[in-house]
Assembly symmetry: C2
């Protein structure tokens, strides 16, 4: 069966400020040593399995130009621009309708555009297992990440260790971000995996489930599908899409559907959730500094320094994140990275939109 | 007797990098809340005692334009441009010759251009005492600062507490920068003051001493003096001045001469030796931050942040010096301020003159 992919690239992340901005979110930034952007890496990663013409990018129209520039091989009609954000269920439904318009049926992978994976071949192996399982029946397959530590910022998925085909496990339930105590319990049971937001299913399967669990959304999606390729395409999308209930695929479908399976992944996944991730994923020098740009460090250790042409000189500093852009410079203690959002709150309150 | 002043402004300080540069040293920077530059404050401070036309500025030709711009009231012919630096003895000799060309004799104050004084009226009182003592005889008067702590970066002056006219004390000797142990001993004796580099004497007195202790320099200075006001003035200066022995007034004259007196000063003197001084002399906000520019601070304490139009956002940082200029940004731990010179060394080694 034809393999297709929907890459979700509508995010407006704030955690990479000042490099990430409303008009340049994380998925369009390069945060790795190779200079490729997150979304370019995402496409490159699956290219051995999926033809470029079968890769769809879901984003919003503000980012269409960025997608065209960064992914010149993707056909323009595969760039699906949501008029407004309505969470992942309508987003995935829209992608599924486009694929269903093109093929009678197909396997559809749903992938975030802003995560990193270290071991691509292992990842492709998991995707292949997932495609096989999805093709075999009316199955919803999700990829779970074996937790390293009790992270409280991710959702978890409870599986049944006794119900497995050798690769995948039956899913019992999806759970929201837990407290630290609960997260620790999850790890001890060895029956919970992190929810990576990656899914595999047949287009026919997910559309049947949307029809069943979100019937109004399904009706709207059908209207949008009917208009694809006609002169009315954009008008219908602009009219119908904003009326959808804003609901996640996890809450709207996965928590209610049957035949849900999870494939555990141990392929070096990183959601690149903050500047601290750059310290993990990029090469550091002998002093533990990860530096990029025109930098002089004197007696400085374990810093993340992201500059450009401007000279940045550091003296006697430790454990700082320094990010310099044309119009703004961030200097943040590593253990305060979660508070970068307070800078953005401050900027919003003061209507200083030019920096957001 | 006419009161005149020579302000020494030839320094090329590196400690305020990246704001201070080879073409913009500390004396031409504003480091105080009032926005005035160090040299402007120096002139303003003595203006109740000395006419602008009797204030001479010793500098080098690279800075002549800066002096003209920052001190429009000073006559251009009072800006004495040394062709090369030859330390303070030739510098002061050149100033004395210019004043002697204008007046038969005069009291001459010698002042650094890059120190701050908090209590100007008290300072003027000390200067008046010094002028009186200088006028009274062939006396060399120096101003000493009552030490607060055993600083190892300053020279000290030993005085005789039993030989005083009520204001001034007889000087026994000048000593170089001491070790910490020696500096502590100096403080315990209560017979040592910091050498502020400020002097008061009659022009006739200092020229007689230069003739006595530095006869070759005196001969050269006479040739320069003869050419003042003629077409040959610049040519003679350019030819003769570079041949002078490079020697400080302390070593060349003060350590050898007689009739040396010191006036203790407690007028809130600060040599503004590093960015740390800015933390002392400028108003801090409720979090202990001294900020200037377009700054957002989140959970940040006791920092010195000097920016401009560019936004600087800090999160969770403490005890840092952050200085942003058009082409360079410094981020330095307060306790590493002395290492800023290592940045300059690095830039010199790499021939990156544009940043020096």
């Amino acid at each position: 069966m034809k393999k297709t992919a929907l890459i979700m690239a509508g995010g407006r992340g704030e955690r990479f400020w000042p490099k990430s901005r409303k008009n340049l979110p994380k998925q369009f930034l390069s945060l790795t040593d190779d200079g490729k952007t997150m979304i370019q890496l995402t496409v490159e990663r699956i290219s051995p399995m999926v033809e470029l013409e079968d890769i769809y990018i879901s984003t919003n129209k503000d980012y269409k130009q960025l997608v065209l520039e960064q992914l010149p091989g993707i056909p323009e009609e595969n760039i699906l621009c949501e008029p407004v954000g309505r969470n992942t269920a309508p987003c995935i439904g829209l992608g599924a309708m486009h694929i269903a318009k093109k093929y009678d049926d197909a396997v559809m992978m749903v992938l975030p555009s802003d995560h990193l994976i270290k071991y691509n071949k292992m990842f492709l192996g998991v995707l292949r297992d997932g495609c096989e399982l999805a093709e075999k029946g009316e199955n919803l397959v999700t990829i779970g990440i074996t937790p390293d530590y009790p992270e409280t910022g991710y959702g978890y998925i409870k599986f049944n260790p006794d119900d497995s085909d050798g690769h995948a496990y039956a899913v019992e339930r999806f759970v929201e971000k837990p407290s630290l105590e609960v997260a620790k319990e999850y790890l001890e049971t060895e029956e919970y995996l992190w929810n990576s937001g990656m899914f595999i299913w047949k287009v026919s399967t997910i559309l049947a489930d949307i029809r069943k669990f979100l019937p109004d959304t399904y009706e709207g999606l059908k209207k949008i599908q009917d208009a694809i390729g006609t002169e009315e395409q954009d008008v219908v999308l602009e009219k119908v899409f904003p009326e959808f209930e804003s609901v996640s695929i996890d809450y709207g479908i996965m928590e209610k559907a049957e035949n849900i399976y999870i494939l555990p992944g141990t392929f070096g996944w990183d959601d690149v959730g903050s500047w601290l991730a750059v310290g993990r994923i990029r090469k550091s020098n002998e002093n533990g500094n990860v530096v990029d740009g025109n930098i002089i460090t004197i007696n400085s250790r374990n810093n993340i320094i992201q500059g450009g042409r401007k000279l940045i000189a550091t003296v006697g500093i430790e454990d700082l994140i320094i990010v310099d852009t044309e119009d703004a410079t961030l200097i943040c203690a590593k253990n305060s990275a979660a508070d970068i959002k307070k800078v953005l709150e401050n900027l919003k309150i003061c209507n200083r939109d030019e920096y957001i």
